[in-house]
Protein backbone atom coordinates (compact mmCIF):
# COMPACT_ATOMS: atom_id res chain seq x y z
CA UNK A 1 0.00 0.00 0.00
CA UNK A 2 1.11 3.54 -0.69
CA UNK A 3 2.19 5.39 2.41
CA UNK A 4 4.20 8.28 3.77
CA UNK A 5 6.10 8.07 7.03
CA UNK A 6 7.44 10.86 9.19
CA UNK A 7 9.46 9.13 11.91
CA UNK A 8 9.74 12.13 14.22
CA UNK A 9 6.60 13.27 16.02
CA UNK A 10 8.23 16.22 17.75
CA UNK A 11 11.52 18.07 17.28
CA UNK A 12 12.87 20.88 19.44
CA UNK A 13 15.53 23.12 17.98
CA UNK A 14 17.27 26.29 19.14
CA UNK A 15 16.75 29.48 17.20
CA UNK A 16 19.54 29.85 14.67
CA UNK A 17 20.30 26.13 14.59
CA UNK A 18 19.76 23.92 11.57
CA UNK A 19 16.67 21.77 11.14
CA UNK A 20 16.09 18.51 9.28
CA UNK A 21 12.74 16.75 9.10
CA UNK A 22 12.60 13.22 7.79
CA UNK A 23 10.12 11.78 5.33
CA UNK A 24 10.02 8.33 3.76
CA UNK A 25 7.59 7.09 1.17
CA UNK A 26 6.44 3.72 -0.04
CA UNK A 27 5.15 3.84 -3.60
CA UNK A 28 5.49 1.57 -6.62
CA UNK A 29 7.00 4.35 -8.70
CA UNK A 30 8.46 7.71 -7.78
CA UNK A 31 5.57 9.81 -6.55
CA UNK A 32 5.08 13.54 -6.61
CA UNK A 33 6.27 14.79 -3.22
CA UNK A 34 5.28 17.81 -1.18
CA UNK A 35 6.03 19.50 2.11
CA UNK A 36 3.33 21.58 3.76
CA UNK A 37 3.45 23.65 6.95
CA UNK A 38 0.55 24.30 9.29
CA UNK A 39 0.62 26.99 11.96
CA UNK A 40 -1.87 26.71 14.84
CA UNK A 41 -5.42 27.31 13.65
CA UNK A 42 -4.33 27.69 10.05
CA UNK A 43 -4.63 25.65 6.89
CA UNK A 44 -1.78 23.97 5.06
CA UNK A 45 0.73 26.15 3.26
CA UNK A 46 2.85 24.63 0.50
CA UNK A 47 6.59 24.91 1.20
CA UNK A 48 7.94 23.05 -1.83
CA UNK A 49 7.30 20.20 -4.21
CA UNK A 50 9.20 17.63 -6.26
CA UNK A 51 7.86 16.20 -9.50
CA UNK A 52 11.04 15.28 -11.39
CA UNK A 53 14.45 16.63 -12.37
CA UNK A 54 16.88 18.23 -9.94
CA UNK A 55 16.76 16.29 -6.70
CA UNK A 56 17.46 19.35 -4.53
CA UNK A 57 14.37 21.52 -4.40
CA UNK A 58 14.21 25.05 -3.07
CA UNK A 59 11.08 26.33 -1.40
CA UNK A 60 9.71 29.31 0.41
CA UNK A 61 10.88 30.65 3.78
CA UNK A 62 14.43 29.37 3.20
CA UNK A 63 13.50 25.68 3.17
CA UNK A 64 14.92 23.06 0.84
CA UNK A 65 14.36 19.34 0.39
CA UNK A 66 16.39 16.58 -1.17
CA UNK A 67 14.87 13.63 -3.00
CA UNK A 68 16.85 10.40 -2.63
CA UNK A 69 15.45 7.56 -4.66
CA UNK A 70 17.80 4.97 -3.14
CA UNK A 71 16.50 5.77 0.34
CA UNK A 72 12.88 6.52 -0.64
CA UNK A 73 13.28 9.77 1.24
CA UNK A 74 12.41 13.42 0.82
CA UNK A 75 13.88 15.20 3.83
CA UNK A 76 13.24 18.87 4.55
CA UNK A 77 16.02 21.15 5.75
CA UNK A 78 16.61 24.70 6.85
CA UNK A 79 20.08 26.01 7.69
CA UNK A 80 19.00 28.46 10.41
CA UNK A 81 15.57 28.38 12.02
CA UNK A 82 13.63 31.37 13.20
CA UNK A 83 11.09 31.44 16.02
CA UNK A 84 8.36 31.83 13.38
CA UNK A 85 9.23 28.37 12.01
CA UNK A 86 7.52 26.77 15.00
CA UNK A 87 4.66 24.84 13.41
CA UNK A 88 3.59 21.39 12.28
CA UNK A 89 5.12 20.07 9.09
CA UNK A 90 3.53 17.49 6.82
CA UNK A 91 5.12 15.45 4.08
CA UNK A 92 2.68 14.31 1.38
CA UNK A 93 2.76 12.26 -1.79
CA UNK A 94 0.61 11.35 -4.75
CA UNK A 95 1.32 9.09 -7.70
CA UNK A 96 1.42 10.50 -11.20
CA UNK A 97 -1.95 9.08 -12.19
CA UNK A 98 -3.63 9.75 -8.88
CA UNK A 99 -4.90 12.91 -7.25
CA UNK A 100 -5.50 12.21 -3.59
CA UNK A 101 -2.65 13.16 -1.31
CA UNK A 102 -1.35 10.71 1.26
CA UNK A 103 0.04 12.50 4.28
CA UNK A 104 2.53 11.59 6.92
CA UNK A 105 1.50 11.95 10.54
CA UNK A 106 3.27 15.28 10.82
CA UNK A 107 6.23 16.59 12.79
CA UNK A 108 5.74 19.36 15.33
CA UNK A 109 8.67 21.75 15.53
CA UNK A 110 9.31 23.77 18.67
CA UNK A 111 11.85 26.58 18.52
CA UNK A 112 13.51 27.62 21.77
CA UNK A 113 15.19 30.95 22.29
Amino acid sequence: AQSVTQPDIHITVSEGASLELRCNYSYGATPYLFWYVQSPGQGLQLLLKYFSGDTLVQGIKGFEAEFKRSQSSFNLRKPSVHWSDAAEYFCAATSGNDYKLSFGAGTTVTVRA
Binding site: G43, L44, L46, K49, D98, Y99, K100, L101, S102, A105
Partner: protein, 113 residues
Protein backbone atom coordinates in the same frame (compact mmCIF):
# COMPACT_ATOMS: atom_id res chain seq x y z
CA UNK B 1 -10.17 35.23 -4.94
CA UNK B 2 -6.52 34.98 -4.06
CA UNK B 3 -6.80 31.64 -2.31
CA UNK B 4 -9.16 28.90 -1.23
CA UNK B 5 -11.77 30.14 1.21
CA UNK B 6 -13.93 28.11 3.57
CA UNK B 7 -16.89 28.95 5.73
CA UNK B 8 -17.69 28.90 8.52
CA UNK B 9 -14.29 28.92 10.19
CA UNK B 10 -15.79 27.34 13.28
CA UNK B 11 -19.01 25.39 13.75
CA UNK B 12 -20.38 24.03 16.99
CA UNK B 13 -23.41 21.79 16.70
CA UNK B 14 -25.38 19.32 18.73
CA UNK B 15 -25.26 15.61 18.12
CA UNK B 16 -27.92 14.61 15.57
CA UNK B 17 -28.03 17.95 13.75
CA UNK B 18 -27.09 18.41 10.09
CA UNK B 19 -24.25 20.75 9.07
CA UNK B 20 -23.09 22.25 5.80
CA UNK B 21 -19.52 23.30 5.16
CA UNK B 22 -18.64 25.49 2.20
CA UNK B 23 -15.54 25.71 0.05
CA UNK B 24 -14.75 28.34 -2.56
CA UNK B 25 -11.74 27.23 -4.65
CA UNK B 26 -9.15 29.33 -6.42
CA UNK B 27 -10.69 30.86 -9.51
CA UNK B 28 -10.10 28.67 -12.56
CA UNK B 29 -9.18 25.55 -10.63
CA UNK B 30 -11.11 22.59 -11.99
CA UNK B 31 -10.19 20.07 -9.31
CA UNK B 32 -11.45 20.30 -5.72
CA UNK B 33 -10.74 18.05 -2.75
CA UNK B 34 -12.04 17.60 0.76
CA UNK B 35 -9.87 16.24 3.56
CA UNK B 36 -10.50 15.70 7.26
CA UNK B 37 -7.93 16.31 9.98
CA UNK B 38 -8.57 14.71 13.33
CA UNK B 39 -6.37 13.90 16.31
CA UNK B 40 -6.59 10.18 16.01
CA UNK B 41 -6.57 9.79 12.25
CA UNK B 42 -4.35 12.56 10.92
CA UNK B 43 -5.16 13.94 7.48
CA UNK B 44 -7.60 11.79 5.51
CA UNK B 45 -8.87 12.18 1.96
CA UNK B 46 -12.66 12.39 1.70
CA UNK B 47 -13.72 13.21 -1.87
CA UNK B 48 -12.41 14.59 -5.16
CA UNK B 49 -14.26 16.66 -7.75
CA UNK B 50 -13.23 17.23 -11.34
CA UNK B 51 -15.58 19.92 -12.55
CA UNK B 52 -18.98 19.10 -11.09
CA UNK B 53 -18.53 15.34 -11.03
CA UNK B 54 -17.03 13.33 -8.20
CA UNK B 55 -15.14 10.38 -9.66
CA UNK B 56 -13.83 9.37 -6.26
CA UNK B 57 -15.98 9.36 -3.14
CA UNK B 58 -14.07 6.52 -1.58
CA UNK B 59 -12.94 8.48 1.45
CA UNK B 60 -16.38 9.47 2.70
CA UNK B 61 -16.63 7.66 6.05
CA UNK B 62 -20.36 6.89 5.95
CA UNK B 63 -23.55 7.60 4.04
CA UNK B 64 -24.18 10.49 6.42
CA UNK B 65 -21.53 12.39 4.46
CA UNK B 66 -22.26 13.87 1.05
CA UNK B 67 -20.80 16.60 -1.11
CA UNK B 68 -21.73 18.48 -4.20
CA UNK B 69 -20.17 21.02 -6.46
CA UNK B 70 -22.10 23.39 -8.65
CA UNK B 71 -21.00 25.51 -11.58
CA UNK B 72 -17.56 23.98 -11.39
CA UNK B 73 -16.79 26.25 -8.47
CA UNK B 74 -18.24 26.26 -4.94
CA UNK B 75 -18.55 22.96 -3.10
CA UNK B 76 -20.64 22.03 -0.08
CA UNK B 77 -19.88 19.15 2.26
CA UNK B 78 -22.94 18.03 4.20
CA UNK B 79 -22.89 15.87 7.28
CA UNK B 80 -26.27 14.54 8.39
CA UNK B 81 -27.12 13.44 11.90
CA UNK B 82 -23.74 14.50 13.22
CA UNK B 83 -21.93 12.32 15.73
CA UNK B 84 -19.21 13.25 18.19
CA UNK B 85 -16.65 11.35 16.14
CA UNK B 86 -17.31 13.78 13.28
CA UNK B 87 -15.53 16.50 15.29
CA UNK B 88 -12.49 17.48 13.24
CA UNK B 89 -11.06 20.15 11.00
CA UNK B 90 -12.41 19.85 7.46
CA UNK B 91 -9.95 21.12 4.86
CA UNK B 92 -10.69 21.95 1.26
CA UNK B 93 -8.07 22.16 -1.47
CA UNK B 94 -8.09 22.97 -5.15
CA UNK B 95 -5.74 22.47 -8.08
CA UNK B 96 -5.67 23.51 -11.70
CA UNK B 97 -6.16 19.88 -12.69
CA UNK B 98 -6.00 16.46 -11.11
CA UNK B 99 -2.58 15.26 -9.90
CA UNK B 100 -1.31 18.82 -9.72
CA UNK B 101 -0.28 20.90 -6.74
CA UNK B 102 -3.11 21.27 -4.24
CA UNK B 103 -3.65 24.55 -2.43
CA UNK B 104 -5.50 24.41 0.85
CA UNK B 105 -8.01 26.64 2.55
CA UNK B 106 -7.92 27.59 6.25
CA UNK B 107 -10.35 24.82 7.20
CA UNK B 108 -13.58 24.58 9.16
CA UNK B 109 -13.29 23.37 12.73
CA UNK B 110 -16.38 21.29 13.53
CA UNK B 111 -17.25 20.47 17.12
CA UNK B 112 -20.13 18.12 17.82
CA UNK B 113 -21.39 18.29 21.39
Amino acid sequence: GAGVSQSPSNKVTEKGKDVELRCDPISGHTALYWYRQSLGQGLEFLIYFQGNSAPDKSGLPSDRFSAERTGGSVSTLTIQRTQQEDSAVYLCASSSQGADTQYFGPGTRLTVL
